[in-house]
Symmetry: D3
Subunit: 150 residues, 6 copies
Amino acid sequence: MHEEPRYFESFELGERRTTLSRTITETDFVVHAGHSGDFFPHHMDEEFCKTQPFGKRIAHGTMTFAIGIGLTATIINPHAMTYGYERLRFPNPVFIGNTIHTEIEISRVLDDPKRPAFGQVIESCSVKNQKNETVLFCEHILLVKKQGSH
Amino acid sequence: MHEEPRYFESFELGERRTTLSRTITETDFVVHAGHSGDFFPHHMDEEFCKTQPFGKRIAHGTMTFAIGIGLTATIINPHAMTYGYERLRFPNPVFIGNTIHTEIEISRVLDDPKRPAFGQVIESCSVKNQKNETVLFCEHILLVKKQGSH
Amino acid sequence: MHEEPRYFESFELGERRTTLSRTITETDFVVHAGHSGDFFPHHMDEEFCKTQPFGKRIAHGTMTFAIGIGLTATIINPHAMTYGYERLRFPNPVFIGNTIHTEIEISRVLDDPKRPAFGQVIESCSVKNQKNETVLFCEHILLVKKQGSH
Amino acid sequence: MHEEPRYFESFELGERRTTLSRTITETDFVVHAGHSGDFFPHHMDEEFCKTQPFGKRIAHGTMTFAIGIGLTATIINPHAMTYGYERLRFPNPVFIGNTIHTEIEISRVLDDPKRPAFGQVIESCSVKNQKNETVLFCEHILLVKKQGSH
Amino acid sequence: MHEEPRYFESFELGERRTTLSRTITETDFVVHAGHSGDFFPHHMDEEFCKTQPFGKRIAHGTMTFAIGIGLTATIINPHAMTYGYERLRFPNPVFIGNTIHTEIEISRVLDDPKRPAFGQVIESCSVKNQKNETVLFCEHILLVKKQGSH
Amino acid sequence: MHEEPRYFESFELGERRTTLSRTITETDFVVHAGHSGDFFPHHMDEEFCKTQPFGKRIAHGTMTFAIGIGLTATIINPHAMTYGYERLRFPNPVFIGNTIHTEIEISRVLDDPKRPAFGQVIESCSVKNQKNETVLFCEHILLVKKQGSH
């Protein structure tokens, strides 16, 4: 983790990066339940899950999001801030023992409609498992200062 | 937390519910950093934060999401599943010691374009602090089985 | 979890409820040791446990109590408070991977000998594993306000 | 923590010991909620608690029990096992920042009615705060092997 | 854990003690990563580790140190304090499921060169796994008050 | 965190880097006690600490080490591995609320006496608080592959 200042103008469409990977453990499931307060049996009750389509416990969507986005937190850009997220989807479940990483691609760059000193950089984030299946997709919208703006 | 089966047809536009509240602690900040792997100084470095606009540590957006949505996890509807989230925004920061709850309103109900046996229920979720300021907004899209569908 | 105000008069002998279930994980064992400070080898040392009658690590009794009672914490009755617990017993051990739930039956209702405005409601709590074996039994004594008392 | 084998015959009425002390932190509150799944506002919602008689968050009874008993787990007696607990009471609340320890006194020793090879040793456990107020009382019933029994 | 005051003069060369054992779990790996902020793939990415010489995740050295030394924390000597550690080595890796304990031998006792009221007691600490392989070695240097010094 | 392969020959005496900072919280104290099993009153008992020279709880040395070294874990060099640590010292205590970072300087580079394909790189690590006082010092010995060695 380190600082790397970048202004809006330097972001290019199609730029890509891939994070390190991390194995999702039963511990992560239990920590997330205790952290979020969501003890739904889909995440916490192995016996119930045996009777369900997937046959085993599946990760909280909020955990896949927290860890998937957490994996991308390696470069601090003091000129950028998160504006929001769009199109958050969970195409495949995450099971205990899966190993996930996140692939980021800059899919859009545009002027911010209300803030002339900022542009929007949209990162398409795909969290993928060890079989290269996408388990979470979202668009991360960043507000990034323009170089000429200060 | 209990089970309450509901089919698509029973959801009504404008239906509202409010969750219990929970005080966000320094512990939650530290747990979330360790859980997500995101140790950015905005969340973890009190000295750095003193030099920033907010003057103190601010919560990870992914934590506000995980806890804000976690607060809503009180009723298990076996006929519903999460399809995704839209328009995730963070209008105000969450600080250590803030007390948050979530207000949910059904803002749209529609047929699912691809799955005739399901409808979409859109819950507008507003996570609010003790001053009634919205700290997170999102739309939660649920796929809910239609009663006539089985 | 939601609020549901009930006065003493509304509790009936023989009333029953059953909680959701939760799989007890190795993580719960480790968290409980770290939380309680009890690192006895019966809970923490797999090699030692192989030489003991049960052949594997067994849960702390205090954990079975904390989680077993925690599972019942789904309805907030503002007119009730815990007075204490009696006859706490551990008829069978809890192992890593067991799935437990709690069954509650109102086994006694009586006037409180010292507080005329309150009655006592005794809930017999049986924490059971996936084989329906009781792993913890106790009586939970509640003080509940009488309706005519305010 | 160390092993110290003792048979039933060696326990004497009135024998006392006192544990070390430990400050109960907000972290312990949050960990216990996440561990037990009990997020009742009495423990977790500072704003709600301001409107209640005690004016601040109070510890889960199950946590005071887990930590209070955990503090006593310093001597492993291979000839003893927990049979159960009686008369669990919470005479005073535990607040964040309180420092607690446990005082143990052997209050009864008796033959076990059903197991001739064992005796029962009853430890009266008083968990006390820094003002010497009792915050938890219980009787811990131990089954201890008799020396002549093997 | 208990207090046992000892002055420098009472420590003897060759004195030994052995701690209890503890099984290192996947939970410990995940907790340590989150606590230290070190999410290197050698500890956290099972798929990456399959391609490495050991074939599976290996413990953080800092965790083996923290737990190995933590196991020795059973006797509080108010006359002693840690001065530092020397020759910290990791001769063998620790894997998930290994059970470790620590063996301590007093390997040197000497006057402290700068503090006439204190002596140095050097404990050679060997953390060993269930196969009796040393997984960590270090020398713990203690400053211990001399009896004639107060 | 990212990979950056470097052979022994590229390390230069006097090379420096400084990590990000992190505020040490009460949560870290509690997590470390639970993780290491060390509940000594110097770290956990606020009332006892009021009677001691520092007047408040002080961090476990093993925690300052784990977090101080953890802060340096930002660049993965596949050609390097930890051989050990020397001269671990704790010149000043760490208190709750202190903000620490680590400064690293390459203080020695030498051939490894037994492994011709490797050199030793010694990093002098100084963990410092927000007043620039050193709270931990150690020498981290790395074995690094030589470029000509494969």
